[in-house]
Amino acid sequence: MGAKHRRLIGNLLAYGAVILIVALSVLPVLWTFLISIKPDEEVITATLTYLPKRPVWDNYVSIWTRSGFPQLILNSAITTAVTVAICTTAGTLAAYAVARTRFAGRQKILLLYLAVRMFPAVMIVIPLFITLRNVGLLDSRFGLALAYTSFLLPVFIWMMKGFFDAIPPELEEAARIDGASRLTAMVRVILPLVLGGLVATSVFVAIGAWNEYLFALMVTSSSGSRTWPVGLQLMVGEFQLPWGELAAGGMISIAPVVILFAIVQRALVRGLTAGAVKG
């Protein structure tokens, strides 16, 4: 058997394996979508039907009109927006500082941003609960957003640092020679160049905040601040949520994640892997 044949067979096997892995990744989500558009009698049957015979949107209507679901989505959206606002403000400044200026203690600061990524969530959530209670931010969307910055801000800074690193260092110098202040050089010259990266990083942080479950379970306790992962989980326990509605709720909740990811995936993958490529 020649090398050409071997290569052909190798490629065919690779295609087979990759298709299998993609199917493994995507089919469970597709299956959940199929459940969400099946009427009840097709979900609860003696013999399983794979494709819905009569697709309906009833489940989407009933989960959306179920008490409190829109409120859960709204709470999640506000918490996510606040988290992103905090991270982009504090994080962009910090990432700019560590990526594009040299100062005494820079290595230590970098190490600090890295080390805080390793702190156990369980370790933080216990005293954070008490701290938030003491300052009256327990069970509030702002308090939850603050809790989220504990693990999302360091990630934001590291990803943004990668995007800032990729810009040639001479740009600020050129702007400075033209008489721009350091602030002007940063805001007018450098920031526009990392805009794509800033959007991708913000999306990553937004997805993290939108999806989060454990902190939300601990910190929120009323419908005024409860986020959708906690709310959906509660509905499963309390009302024995029908499968179709559970699946529909899941589909509604992941829609923004999938859409945002699809829009920024190129820059996002670049940002997530920047550290890996440099070694």
Partner: protein, 296 residues
């Protein structure tokens, strides 16, 4: 004085750093240190009569004599080792395959990221539906192809609960490895492959002597990050089994979380979290040291 003028001052870089440092101090460092001190104190929100006095090593002694602690520790080891190995092997296989760069493989490398971006709650319920003992599609398929005689309650059986949760976790987490290992593979210089070919290296020798050494740093970093998040985050187990049946799938992070959220025993919960923290620090240090030693 305008902000522009301010930026000409010597220490202006600290103006940029202060917001993030304040936040990290407030939501990471302060809680962590307080959590450490809490593990030496009495604190039960439902028993204010006990006060919040200093109790020394009381919680640690209690923990030593707590059979659930030892069971959870064992489960944590099984859970973390099993899930990390599974995710790593599946991720590495995926990365090596996709790195062949055949038409359509770039799209595939994006599609496989889907599980990773799904919320724990949704990932958990997707699999809970598929593995359901009465109506689950996987049970249906397994019965059809003759692996099972009848539908099986994967999460309700003490022998399979942790393993089934692990399958869900591997599905959820393998894209993380695939993504970063693929990026690492793409960065391997082409000359290395060419010289390996000239030396007549087969695919296995090429993997052993060219690819693995190049990926070493990424493997160490991704494994450390993954172990940390697997040790810390009980979400998937909480959603799928709640630690049950009985305590068959109880892990330390979940035990600590339940001590706090159900029993309001903050002191004991903090002691459990401290064990995790110290264990993780020790693991990260040793693992990074050992893999550097091997490299030299």
């Amino acid at each position: 004085m305008g902000l522009g003028t301010l930026s000409e001052r010597r220490g202006w870089v600290w103006f940029l750093l202060v917001p993030s440092l304040l936040l990290i101090a407030a939501v990471v460092l302060y809680p962590t240190f307080w959590g450490m001190s809490l593990s030496f104190r009495e604190m039960r929100l439902n028993r204010p009569d006990l006060g919040t006095g200093f109790v020394g090593f009381k919680h640690y002694v209690a923990l030593w004599n707590d059979p659930v602690f030892w069971l959870s520790l064992r489960n944590t080891l099984v859970w973390v080792v099993g899930a990390t190995m599974g995710e790593f092997l599946l991720g590495l296989t995926t990365a090596l395959l996709v790195d062949r760069g055949l038409p359509g493989f770039r799209a595939a490398s994006v599609l496989i990221l889907l599980p990773w971006f799904l919320p724990n709650v949704v990932a958990g319920h997707i699999w809970a539906l598929m593995l359901d003992p009465r109506l689950g599609v996987i049970n249906d398929i397994l019965v059809r192809i003759g692996v099972l005689d009848s539908y099986f309650a994967w999460f309700a059986n003490p022998d399979t609960a942790l393993g089934a949760a692990m399958v869900v976790e591997i599905w959820h987490g393998f894209p993380f490895f695939a993504l970063l290992l693929l990026a690492g593979l793409k960065a391997v210089p082409l000359e290395l492959y060419e010289s390996a070919e000239i030396d007549g290296a087969g695919p296995f020798a090429r993997f052993r002597h060219v690819i693995l050494p190049q990926l070493q740093m990424i493997i160490v970093a991704t494994v450390v990050l993954r172990v940390i998040s697997l040790v810390n985050a009980p979400d998937i187990i909480l959603i799928l089994t709640g630690g049950g049946p009985g305590r068959a799938s109880q892990v330390l992070s979940l035990y600590a979380f339940l001590k706090v959220s159900k029993e309001f025993n903050f002191g004991y919960g903090s002691a459990l979290a401290m064990v995790l923290f110290v264990g993780l620090m020790g693991f990260s240090y040793l693992y990074v040291r050992l893999s550097n030693v091997l490299k030299e």
